[in-house]
């Protein structure tokens, strides 16, 4: 395996299939599932700083989960794995969602300070709730659907800080175990959606590499159900 991909010009659905692997929280379980589907992930498990791991049939490209739809939509990766939260937040990215892999389960929730009525009070008396989030589109859609007005404040870092110092009345965020919320004296008020890891494909690759992609989809399905 080398870190260079021969003849890599513009994104194209040719050569070994390129699979976008999410680094971060989904990384470990993604590698386990790929192992289960018969894809060698030994090199990714080492301490290499490389981003690309070239194999004979499949090339693994590692990236942030939120970049996976970008690469797959453009065809720079033919297929990829990322969280449903990322796909919902980037719903305008045209990628095919082929399979629910089941792992990486977490909940998108509306949370507020324990015992604090700021959320309700702001809504009643001021007409809007101030909500801090890293997921402005998911939050916007949710509050629209539930008929409430909000002032969305997009933040990048530790979102729990926002209601503690008065930037926002509540937060919309992804919760796995709920430990971070508890440690910051926050509690879940409403559950918006449950998110798991999904297997996605580029539109053109799905058509032109149908045999390989169908085969891999079947193997992954087997790996996550067994």
């Amino acid at each position: 395996m080398s870190t260079e991909v021969a003849g890599l010009g513009r994104a194209k659905p040719e050569g070994p299939l390129k699979l976008a692997v999410p680094r971060g929280a989904l990384f470990g379980e993604t590698l386990d599932v790929l192992d289960g589907a018969g894809i060698d992930t030994t090199e990714l498990r080492g301490d290499s700083r490389s981003l690309i791991f070239e194999g004979s049939e499949i090339t693994l490209v590692t990236m942030r989960p939120s970049d996976v739809p970008t690469y797959v939509e453009a065809g720079a990766a033919d297929i990829g794995i990322t969280g449903k939260d990322v796909l919902l937040e980037q719903a305008d990215r045209r990628v095919y969602e082929l399979l629910d892999l089941g792992f990486g389960r977490c909940r998108m929730v509306l949370a507020g300070r324990v015992g604090d009525e700021r959320l309700g009070e702001s809504e009643r008396r001021l007409g809007v709730m101030r909500i801090a989030t890293k997921y402005p589109r998911i939050a916007e859609r949710y509050f629209e659907e539930t008929g409430r007005q909000t002032e969305l404040i997009e933040v990048k870092g530790s979102i729990e800080l926002a209601p503690l110092v008065g930037l926002a009345d509540g937060i919309v965020d992804l919760v796995a175990t709920g430990r971070t919320l508890r440690e910051n004296n926050l509690e879940v008020r409403e559950e918006i959606v449950v998110c798991t890891a999904r297997f996605v494909a580029n539109r053109v690759a799905h058509k032109l590499r149908s045999v390989e992609i169908d085969e891999l989809t079947a193997k992954l399905r087997q790996a996550v159900t067994s």
Binding site: E73, D92, L99, V204, K207
Partner: protein, 332 residues
């Protein structure tokens, strides 16, 4: 000094322009060779006229009032303007009519996505020639056009626009549930499709699995047999239509580059029957598409079947460059 232009628009400089002109010439020459005469229509039309195409998806993103208060709009494709032109200028003409165009169209974009607000489309419209022969002729012209652009590896996907509408009707799914399912299908969100289908009352696990499996059937004529095994009158009717078209393509000798695809769904609401999509292995984006729009001309008072295709010129140009460098690499 920076003098900005709106996002999604661009200038073209001589070197690119020369290449584009060459490409334009090759395409129009191909269209003409098959008897398609080039037409031009105004970029601005009455909004009400363009709105007859398809209110939801093809409606213009750019509308404005003129000095007498009329609502005008920039066209989002050429098929609807040509339907209007045919109805007003060729209502009593002898059919079939063969028209082609190379023109700019306008669509809304999201910022910083590399999407173009103004883009060029090249395509043909064949009016008055029903399926399957009319569809086969359009595919034949499309293949010749791809060859003329140097995209000899391009693949044409052939599907059926009515398949899922009819299948859902057969399963008794109506109203909001049906619209939501068609949306899942158009997005190709199989996870969501399966989840929503299983929630609809009266649909068995087997019917649900059939619907999901159908979307994954793509390949040669063997997929028609696989689809029939999944069963049901809607599938039977759609596969019969596709088979008819495919056989006509075989008679024309142009079936080799066609991939039958039961997962195809058009974004545009005016298509019925055969729909087409074009891919090239050198590009991760769809190069163009088309299909039959037998009901569209009725909305302009002319009852004629019709079919056509449009290619995104800028994307064809990118694919052309990639294919050329690949050929050079292979030769060296």
């Amino acid at each position: 000094m920076i003098h900005p232009i709106p996002p999604g628009t661009r200038d073209v400089l001589p070197e690119e322009m020369r290449e584009l002109r060459r490409l334009h010439g090759n395409l129009i020459e191909t269209f003409e060779r098959f008897g398609y005469g080039e037409v031009a229509t105004p970029a601005i039309e009455y909004d009400e006229v363009l709105g007859r195409g398809d209110g939801r998806t093809a409606a213009s993103a750019y509308r404005f009032f003129d000095e007498s208060g009329e609502l005008l709009a920039l066209r989002s494709d050429m098929t609807v303007p040509i339907a209007r032109l045919v109805a007003s200028r060729y209502a009593k003409a002898e059919m079939p009519l063969r028209l082609c165009y190379l023109a700019s169209a306008f669509r809304a974009v999201r910022p910083q996505r590399g999407q173009m607000r103004e883009f060029t489309q090249a395509g043909v419209e064949l009016i008055g020639a029903p399926a399957p022969a009319g569809t086969a002729e359009v595919v034949k012209v499309l293949e010749a056009t791809l060859d003329a652009a140097g995209l000899d590896r391009a693949v044409i996907g052939l599907g059926d626009a009515d398949l899922y509408r009819q299948l859902l009707a057969e399963l008794g799914v109506e109203g909001a549930a049906r619209d939501s399912l068609l949306e899942r299908l158009a997005m190709h969100d199989l996870v969501g499709l399966e989840a929503e289908l299983s929630e609809v009352a009266g649909i068995s696990d087997e019917q649900c699995a059939t619907c999901v499996a159908l979307t994954q059937l793509r390949g040669g004529s063997e997929v028609l047999g696989q689809a029939r095994e999944l069963g049901g009158p809607a599938v039977e009717r759609a596969t019969a239509r596709i088979q008819e078209t495919f056989e006509a393509l075989q008679e024309h000798g142009v079936a080799d580059r066609v991939q039958i695809d039961l997962g195809l769904l058009s974004d545009l609401g005016y298509y019925s029957g055969a729909i087409l999509e074009v891919y090239d292995p050198a590009l991760g984006h769809v190069l163009g598409g088309g299909g039959r729009y037998d009901e569209l001309l009725k909305r302009f008072g002319v009852d004629q079947p019709a079919a056509g295709f449009a290619l995104y010129l800028e994307r064809v140009h990118v694919a052309q460059m990639e294919e050329e460098s690949r050929r050079q690499e292979e030769a060296s």
